[in-house]
Symmetry: none
Amino acid sequence: MVEQKTVAKSRSVNRVVKSAPYEPGGKAPATRRRLLDAAAFVLAEKGFTGMRLSDVGEVAGVQAPAIYYHFNNKEELAGEVFITGLVRSRATLEEVLALHENDDALDRLAVAIDAHVRLSARQTVYGRAWMHRSTGDVPEAVEQMCQSDERAYARVWTQVLSNAHSDGFLRGDIDLKTAQQMLLGALNSISFVTRAGRALDVDGLVRSAQTMLLSGLSETQRAWPLLAESEVVDPF
Amino acid sequence: MVEQKTVAKSRSVNRVVKSAPYEPGGKAPATRRRLLDAAAFVLAEKGFTGMRLSDVGEVAGVQAPAIYYHFNNKEELAGEVFITGLVRSRATLEEVLALHENDDALDRLAVAIDAHVRLSARQTVYGRAWMHRSTGDVPEAVEQMCQSDERAYARVWTQVLSNAHSDGFLRGDIDLKTAQQMLLGALNSISFVTRAGRALDVDGLVRSAQTMLLSGLSETQRAWPLLAESEVVDPF
Amino acid sequence: MVEQKTVAKSRSVNRVVKSAPYEPGGKAPATRRRLLDAAAFVLAEKGFTGMRLSDVGEVAGVQAPAIYYHFNNKEELAGEVFITGLVRSRATLEEVLALHENDDALDRLAVAIDAHVRLSARQTVYGRAWMHRSTGDVPEAVEQMCQSDERAYARVWTQVLSNAHSDGFLRGDIDLKTAQQMLLGALNSISFVTRAGRALDVDGLVRSAQTMLLSGLSETQRAWPLLAESEVVDPF
Amino acid sequence: MVEQKTVAKSRSVNRVVKSAPYEPGGKAPATRRRLLDAAAFVLAEKGFTGMRLSDVGEVAGVQAPAIYYHFNNKEELAGEVFITGLVRSRATLEEVLALHENDDALDRLAVAIDAHVRLSARQTVYGRAWMHRSTGDVPEAVEQMCQSDERAYARVWTQVLSNAHSDGFLRGDIDLKTAQQMLLGALNSISFVTRAGRALDVDGLVRSAQTMLLSGLSETQRAWPLLAESEVVDPF
DNA sequence: CATGAATGAGGGTTCATTCAT
DNA sequence: GATGAATGAACCCTCATTCAT
């Protein structure tokens, strides 16, 4: 009842990267790359369940069954899209952080935010595809494929944040786990501002994000009012 | 009447809430409510495309075709779920804001954040269902159904934010549109912290959210470093 | 494989006319009549498979389930429509023939044609409904219900035709069975000329039918040319 | 490409006949032909609404969904059946008429009747399928698909009839439109005599049809009696 | 490497039919 | 006598997947 529907029997779930037919010179790797890009594109727009292999094929310029030469099934294709996105994001992040290795922990946090926004702004579909992963639209199996990379990616942020925290740069009254979640939630939501595609002021976006998340919306310092549970009525 | 089958018969398109006035004896409204709740539940977990009417039926305790007695089709069902969620959220928000009518604009913003978090924390599936709407998983038709309610909901936040802004409470270097998007992105992402379902410290969550969003993550005040576009390399 | 699909289990197939609840004064008989008319109407437009009980109900001004108080199921309803139409047609025919009892057999044939056309022209939906019966759209069970009435109706024509034949009024080189089929085929097809609904010259129609069928299209008398089987090629 | 699902993708809407030029090796055209034949067969027996794609598949020796490789949907399949039948009938008719180009207009009419009957007698299911089209059982969309071919077919008859008329071969007191309708109605009804499938005397059938329609049922020439409207009572 | 052709499982939707009221 | 509410069987259609070529 209401369970995840597994997609087919997937002959060899764990052989993630079909390595055999990879002899350089063939056009297979190119097609494989095109398929990943196409899948990311469709995934970003429609989510996993909404992604039709025929659409992916169309975008990539091949017929749907051709996908099966490069990937074992839909789940694996989606999984690799997610992983690719995560790996790229992490690489970008780590690279930038490496460049700012000697900055203090707070500047490094600001720089991480900057890098994230800039990457999003470049419309990388992989990022938008990834957003769907968090919606439960993606089957368990795919989620498991990505787990390690997801954690690795999250760890980078956790690291940056906890460094800033232990170096005394962060407010004491904030739960770090929650903060990270909200931080990424806020950053990811930016892609929706971006979406319209009009030429946009990336530097402005970055500044807004940094300011809001690091310095807060308000300059005024005060204790924020807290409601009583009973004040918030859930209207049926 | 007796015409060539058209696409939708629009029996109850606009009967959105209509709660009380059913003469006793009819159990339709009860079932209808159960169906909405069930749909919200499934929608929250699987998204629109992943939602099977049979699942909705099962959760609601009826057979799938019974849904068609209450809604014209899957899209309408989903649409009413979204609308219901939006309407409830807005009502809650407005009620709380009304209670704090005389607070200054900044406190009212804090109070709005508080109310939102509290509502999310109560696990209202309607909220989580709503998150899927932004993923493109939902067909155009449904999106159009919700448009007006969505805008009405957004307007409440826009109002609160712009009041705070015009009263001089917000930092000058923040784009209001972006700020609102990030604010809501951050708030919505909280439901994922919540997800595990363990007993949670709602007051703590609220405080974290308020502090982070209003006062910022850091107590230190400084100009944040800005990367050059070229520093952020997109690794293919 | 490709067999007639019987509609449900039909508790009592042979109890054709539910006789019990017939106490005069109740409004049941009136509704029953309205249902028959409505069914004839829908049947005439959509055929048996295309007829939805909900449509019949709508036309009759009741809900679909109400039908089950008056008829055991869809098949029985349709069957009675057909029978009603047949009985009426036969009655009309016989009445007219009785009025012309003393005419010679050929005039009686002409008169029968006249009566048929006039009835059709009055748009009696029962007649149009009947046309569908011959298309195989109607399940066996219904066909059996009507069989005796159908035969009785056909017999009237057979009688008229064979009288004309044995009285030496008809051409010798015509197969009577085929002639009757074509005669009725031609007459029924008139309802399609009629269909447009514009005011029509019934007397003209009658004359055309009589002349064409009795005197033939052509005044010229000659032996008609006959093709060789091989001349008619079926182009695949 | 990758858009919100629309109602029909119109892959092969206009590829109506296209018989020969498929490079050998593709078995699609063969299957397509089998599907058309199967559909015609089922259509002839059950009508459009009664035709189940599963039945069509079974008759054609494929699974139902395979149909969607060759046709966009049920309507298109039915439409092409109708069109195929019409095109073939017209082709046959025109061919025969071409062979008798130099006969006088009346003989050409006789020959057309002959060809029609002979085609019907060969049981071409396409013809019987076509009869259903006139019953209203067929959705508007399908009717529109066939419209032009239907008119083209009718035009052949109209031509033959009007030629005979203007050459002075037809009786003056007959409405040509009505005559054509009755003529075709009569001819089509022949397929019901044929139906039983027993070995039949096609030449006899042809002669009966020609004689009855051209020379009339009766050899006696007289003015036919006309009823008064009031003589024909519609018995409720 | 890729496609043409087909399959099988399932999902949305319709509709005759039931039954308690 | 008739309706409100629901069911179950089927039907059209979609889509991931296969396999021979």
